[in-house]
Amino acid sequence: MEEHKHNDEVVSDRQIRRRTILSFIGFFVFIGVGFLAFRWLYHTPDAAGVHAPLRKGYEVNEKIFGSTFNKNKLVKTYPLSAAVKNVRVNGDVGMGNDFDVSTWRMHLVRKPGDTLLISLADIKALPKTEVIFDFKCIEGWSQVTHWGGVRFSDFLAKNGITDLAAFKYVGLQTPDKQYYVGIDMSSMMQPQTLLCYEMNGKPLPYDQGAPLRLIIPVKYGIKHLKRIGYLFFSNQKPPDYWAERGYDYYSGH
């Protein structure tokens, strides 16, 4: 590279020292600014369990990746033989023992003051959909599992409430309201999102959220609420248990 040759300069020791010191001053300023930026980050106010700029980061990522989300794109499915028999149980918030499966009804809040009570028989009367997919926990593990239930989109259509799909979010809560999630409508309307009442071809086990849970393969496990008590619609983000504890609200794939 000839250009280097032309850039060579004859200099004195003093000039070398001067240029070296100037460069290193710049270098230390760079380190100082980096250090201050880091200190600043860790002194910003808390925004639901994380520092505010990091929460902002989640939200920007949600905008970017949420905007390219395609609700017609299917999650990879597996043959029945790939599904595990021992399905991991992770988390029991909202799963208190003072609960009677036989008297359970899902509260479908169409709008404030207008609630439908849905029984398991009502749900089972709708067409059944099964999905065998790689269930991914936000902790980093995954399991191929087999679920059966009613597509959320079918559920809306069969109840004649497709107009509710115009809302931006769906909120779900356990009967005791101890666990709750909020999910964007396009993820809810993805055809593999189920109101689920079967696991491995059998009724949903108690610790897996009997009688009805959410299975939403385009989200991490934290969104797959067990034991649905309440279902409602909103244009504001419904409260979300783990998003209040530092996790990403979107938590989508």
Binding site: M1, V10, F24, L54, R55, N70, K73, S142, G246, H253
Partner: protein, 235 residues
């Protein structure tokens, strides 16, 4: 008489020094995430030679129970890591600096000679330009690794939207393993890099900050010993 020889362009120094804290942050936040499902080990059957990571390691660095913080950091700093790396690659291509960095057909043979020389085995150092053959391979490999981290990272971050990439990386779990191994790779690179920088001495380190090397002007030639060749024009 001395002269200043320009060695590292300002852009490359910026990319290098920005990358250092950003990659450190990616490794650190990655550790906070990995802790939540720390299943990797070196061993066979039931025998574990080395578990990633021992409890003492988690304790020493206070890593336990910080998954949310780790993810929040990881998904902000990933942009800095990606943009800085992307601009670096773009710059090396446009400026022609890649010619000093990308290994050529002689590099692999010469890299062995460099290695033997560095291990104090009898071997003369092959002639080199700005970077020796071992450096070319290492600095190019680290870029390939960077691409690998972005690809496997996207595969585990958005396995549905980037389903094709996830499949290409061997699936969700394989992508996670590769992502982890690459991180170990950066850590090994870092240790070797620091050792080499220390061994190479002050002038070499200074050039990564100031951008220049200082060279004696060999005049008159008869009175001075031969100066080590660092002139990049020999490349």
């Amino acid at each position: 008489m001395k002269r200043i020889v320009k060695k590292h362009p300002l852009a490359i120094r910026w990319f290098h020094w920005v990358n250092f804290p950003v990659l450190a942050m990616m490794v650190w936040s990655g550790l906070l995430i990995y802790w939540a499902n720390d299943i990797y080990k070196v061993g066979w059957g039931d025998r574990t030679v080395l578990h990633f990571f021992p409890d003492s390691f988690y304790k020493a660095f206070n890593i336990s129970g910080r998954l949310a913080e780790g993810m929040a950091l990881h998904f902000v700093f990933m942009w800095l890591f990606f943009i800085n790396g992307f601009l670096y690659v773009l710059y090396t291509i446009i400026s022609g600096e890649w010619r000093y960095l990308w290994p050529d057909r002689r590099s692999f043979k010469e890299a062995i000679e460099v290695l033997l020389h560095d291990l104090h085995l009898p071997k003369t150092l092959p002639p080199q330009s700005k970077y020796n053959a071992a450096q070319r391979i290492a600095y190019s490999a680290i870029i390939v690794m960077g691409f690998g981290s972005v690809a496997t990272g996207l595969s585990i971050y958005k396995p549905v939207q980037f389903g094709w990439l996830c499949t290409l990386c061997g699936g969700y779990e394989v992508a996670r393993i590769i992502h982890f191994i690459l991180t170990l790779g950066y850590s090994v690179f870092f240790v070797i890099h620091i050792v080499q920088v220390v061994l190479a001495g002050w002038a070499n380190f200074r050039s990564m900050v100031t951008g220049f090397d200082v060279e004696q002007i060999p005049l008159p030639p008869a009175e001075l010993p031969v100066i080590k060749e660092v002139d990049p024009q020999n490349s």
